[in-house]
Amino acid sequence: MKRIPAIFIILFVVPACLYAQADTGELNSLKEEIRLLKTQFEEMKSGYEDKIKQLESKVEEISQGQSETQIKVTQVASGPQSAAGRYLQYFNPDISVIGDFVYHGTDKKTDEIYNRFSMREVEFAFSAAVDPYAKADIFLSVEPEESAVDLEEGYLTFLNLPIKGLQGKLGKFKSNFGKVNRLHRHQLPWADEPNMLTNFFGSEGMSEPGISASYLIPNPWDKYMELTFEVFNNRNSESFAGSSGRDMVYLTHLKNFFDINEESTLELGMSFATGPNDDRHGKNRTNIEGIDLTYKWRPLKEGIYKSLTFQNEAFFSQKDNVIAEEGAGPKQIDSLGLYSSLQYQFAKRWSVFGRYDYSEFPNFASRSDNAYSAGLTFAQSEYVFWRLQFKHTDRNYEKDSSEVWLQCNFGLGPHRKHEY
């Protein structure tokens, strides 16, 4: 009989204790849950209060200045497709205006801008999507010195062609030959163009009406390889036929891009252009090859304060000499042009640069020049920069010269897109 209390204890007391224990555990978890719910409720409440405040301010805004446009604006801005948020001028293209002011001093008295100020250029840029298939970019350049408005570029880009990776372009555009030929003046890291560009393609570079197709070549290394093919009018007067040109110039460009690591990159480009250089169909031809190599370094963490660019380009031209038929000069002129430039940014707004130029001329067998440039750039903000540059040019065909530029370049309008 003594066993009965023991059994009783085992049967009733132990479970009761266990139950009580479970009870407090459950209670704790319930408490925890209530606490959680409470805070969640608080969060929701504050969230809703914020939303109500927002709505209230919106209602006030609308009732204060109730115009149709404003109401439309609020509706559109909350849509998912407000691509770049330009909500006040919805279908207007993005418009930017860039002014370029320089003081140019030189000891060469025949220079176009001899020791004076000049508003070298004002560029108007318009860009927008045209329809779901294409976008357009127009660049007008006003050069007060020449009191002329010039179409610098104006082209339509087809973004969605049936072949994956293929893009097309038509219009007047800067030829995809090397790197510097494609840049607008305000994108240059110097106050002037490298000598080889002026000597080979003229002061405006090579830019003719034509068509272009580019393709991203799939490759096993998963690297960026872009092949471009262009056909354009044979109107470049330095290297090709000039205003009397018939036929076309054909150009190919291969751009390779490598990430060395997350801070530094290497770009290697190869270009080739060919076309007749007289008013006939190819008896006298010009072939130009180009190679460009650019190394860029920008540490991600200190990227606002430090960066370096080492940029090199060379052109090789083989031009049949038109006047050789008349017994003047060699049958073919081979010429070489190159530059090498180093830019180093050492503070948020400051950078220095140096450039070496060597260039022969595609039209003159024995002419060449060497130039040494150095300068300093101060970026007042993202939209205004100042630049001071010195340049000394040695020429074997006329007097050497020294030049100085003080440049101030300013941009209005949306953020500038920075091509890498």
Partner: protein, 303 residues
Amino acid sequence: MRKLLFSLIIALSLTKFLYAQDRIRILTTTPDLKSIAEFVGKDKVDADSLGKGYQDPHTIEAKPSFMLKAKNADLFIRVGLELELGYEELIIDGSRNPKIRFGQLGHLDVSRGVYLLEIPAIKIDRSMGDIHPLGNPHYWLDPLNAKIIATNIAKRLSEISPENESYFQGNLAEFNHKIDQKMIEWKAKLAPFNGHSIAVYHRSWPYFAERFGIGIACELEPKPGIPPSPGHLKEVIDIIKSKNIKIILMEVFYDEKPARFVSQQTGVKVVIVPNSVGGTKEARDYFSLIDTITDGLVEATQK
């Protein structure tokens, strides 16, 4: 034996292929969106980010290698509010990927529906510095906005892959629940700051500060994006002294010198914390990012 090995290799490469094909390839502009997308998509997505957490998000560049990443993406996710204006269009155009163009299913702006601050009420211009006309874009630093970001991502992933809708919704619920739980912890830790003000370097912090009841007394930048000038730092010093400010909160990628200078003059503590996932080793994902910021503030008051 050789036959077996051969078929094994074939099978392995095939599964790898199928495995890779299954996942939705996501490319985000910032690592915070990548982290949130991974919480929502888990093993149904492969996420990558263009920017790094220790990089100023305004300075991401349109590298051609990024265009290649965008070429292979099924879904491009951005912060919006013009934060990506300097490079986004170049990358999308350069990618030649029609799936991720504006307005397509593969292009998602997660700012839709988030709680926004600093929407300019007047016509703005560049004299005010780098102001974003649609509002301050650093909204991911408010944990409740992270829930909205996650909701936007879950909705879009469900549209891309309807058969996995319940999976994404489940992950979303889990993420939201974890945010709710962590909010309790963060609020408790930051309780001593509630009602007090701090100084900051750039306007990255209003969302975080407002959520936890912290005021912002002044910024070291005279205007957004404009580096501190001696004249402005003098004003900052006066404000810090008069309002008895104890902390300058700043991002990892800005120059520390101006903040150290103010610190020497006033004794204010400089707290340098990431404002994005990956900004420091500790900030591995969205939750540890907010943990790192919270702990940084708390530790500064305990020293």
